[in-house]
């Protein structure tokens, strides 16, 4: 079963749908035309470029080229996590890269090599979209983990110092904030798994069904990707926070001001 193509005139018709929310927003006095226009334009250009690149990637299907693409995704994710978490990249870039790269490579390799078992493990059709989906979710989790952890430490500076004064090691003193940060990071994934299929049909499954896959196959892939997202987010957050502890504190266990990006 082939997916029906959307011809260019009908794509234009699709863009026309945006006029309805734009008109409603204008009616209630929200002047967002510029933001909406820029967002739709950026989405269209970015996805067109990705489409061209992915087409080339799939046609060539070269292991090094696929690896390079994943490396670029990891580097962009690394910098994006630190910028959004309010931490300085020059201090944490290596720690965050190590955390996300190890967790993404582990869970993607586990899924592709052990579970899906394609003829070539580096097959771009599997490795690129799967690594991308896992990384996208892992990115959100790591932003939440780092942001929560360092905000909590700054907000509860006196409490943290009290723990140290009561004989806690650095690790013992940060543990309450560490646990809370990891919990906040993985909660959306846990909640997402609990309501999946009831509240909404997940994007990957919908995409596969539209692409002509049997619903059963789409379900299996969706379960696989959710388990990998959960695993890699948990591993990456824990490794990332743990590695960051060696960077963010001075030798007297006091949080270094200079590592935080002041807004």
């Amino acid at each position: 079963m082939e997916t029906l193509d959307i011809a260019l005139p009908r794509m234009a018709l699709l863009y026309g749908l945006c006029l309805l929310p734009w008109f409603l927003l204008w009616l209630i006095g929200l002047r967002l035309s510029r933001d909406i226009g820029i967002s739709i334009l950026r989405m269209s250009i970015q996805l067109t470029l990705v489409g061209i690149y992915l087409k080339m990637l799939f046609d060539l299907n070269h292991p090094w080229l696929n690896g390079l693409w994943i490396l670029v995704m990891l580097l962009v994710a690394d910098l994006s996590i630190l910028r959004r978490a309010g931490l300085k990249a020059r201090y944490f870039a290596l720690a965050t890269f190590t955390a996300i790269a190890s967790s993404i490579l582990f869970s993607t390799a586990y899924l592709v090599i052990l579970v899906i078992q394609p003829t070539h493990f580096y097959d771009a059709r599997y490795i690129v979209p799967l690594a991308g989906m896992i990384l996208g979710n892992c990115l959100q989790g790591n932003v939440i983990a780092l942001e929560r952890f360092y905000s909590a430490l700054r907000k509860n500076e006196n409490e943290y110092a009290t723990f140290l004064m009561l004989g806690a090691t650095r690790w013992e003193a940060v543990l309450p904030y560490f646990r809370e940060a990891v919990k906040a990071a993985i909660n959306p994934t846990i909640a997402g798994m609990a309501t999946m299929g009831l509240v909404s049909l997940p994007g990957m499954m919908t995409g596969q069904i539209l692409g002509g896959s049997e619903p059963w196959l789409a379900v299996k892939y969706q379960i696989a990707i959710m388990i990998c997202i959960f695993t890699s987010t948990t591993i990456a957050c824990i490794i990332n926070l743990k590695l960051s502890l060696n960077i963010a504190f001075n030798e007297f266990d006091v949080l270094r001001d200079e590592v935080i990006d002041k807004p």
Binding site: N156, N158, E159, A161, T162, F163, L164, M165, L166, G167, A168, T169, E172, N250, E251, F252, D253, V254
Partner: protein, 187 residues
């Protein structure tokens, strides 16, 4: 005792002694040893620091008192129920307070719970930062009596004249500098 106007650096000195405040010049010595990243743990393990608005760090008063005994350093020295009650009574607190939530007790009670926690740890050196500021006369007297023990060394920040009378040495600070040292009331 450290005294001086607000902002003269009294609290900063206490925090510096514990390695919580970075020093730009000079050095801190504890028992004739310089304060270094490797010695700071020893200094902290011999010292109890109690601030003006102490953080109890736990939901109930009992949990707050037992908090340090969750840490590896003190895990083997968990106090008995009798020891908890005894230390509370020394500070004029009733045993019923153990069941209360930390967020529901008064500022004065919080200060005395933090002091009780320090005493339970059996520390020899106490760094006290205006710990009687929220106490009534009777409770203040109880605190004075407990810390008048010659076995204990107390370095405190206080404005209280009664506390001043009981101190062996008074260091006066102004704008971060030591301006006067008084011994037993004599300059």
């Amino acid at each position: 005792m450290l005294c001086g106007k607000s902002g003269s650096g009294k609290s900063s000195i206490l925090r510096t002694l514990l390695g919580l405040h970075p020093i730009k010049s000079g050095a801190v010595y504890f028992q004739e040893q310089p304060l270094t990243p490797s010695s700071v743990q020893t200094v902290r393990s011999c010292t109890a620091y109690i601030g003006q608005e102490p953080m109890l760090g736990a939901e109930s008063v009992r949990e707050a008192l037992l908090l340090p005994f969750q840490f590896k350093t003190h895990r083997d020295h968990k106090p008995t129920e009798a020891q908890l009650i005894e230390v509370l009574q020394r500070l004029h607190l009733s045993a019923d307070i153990l069941r209360q939530e930390s967020s529901r007790i008064s500022g004065g009670e919080k200060q005395r719970i933090a002091l009780a926690r320090g005493l339970l740890l059996g520390k020899k050196l106490y760094l006290l930062d205006e710990v009687t500021s929220a106490l009534d006369a009777e409770s203040k007297q109880a605190v004075f009596d407990v810390f008048s023990d010659p076995q204990l060394t107390v370095l405190s920040v206080a404005h209280d004249p009664e506390w001043l009378e009981r101190c062996g040495i008074v260091f006066e600070l102004e704008a971060g500098r030591l301006t006067q040292v008084k011994r037993n009331g004599n300059t």
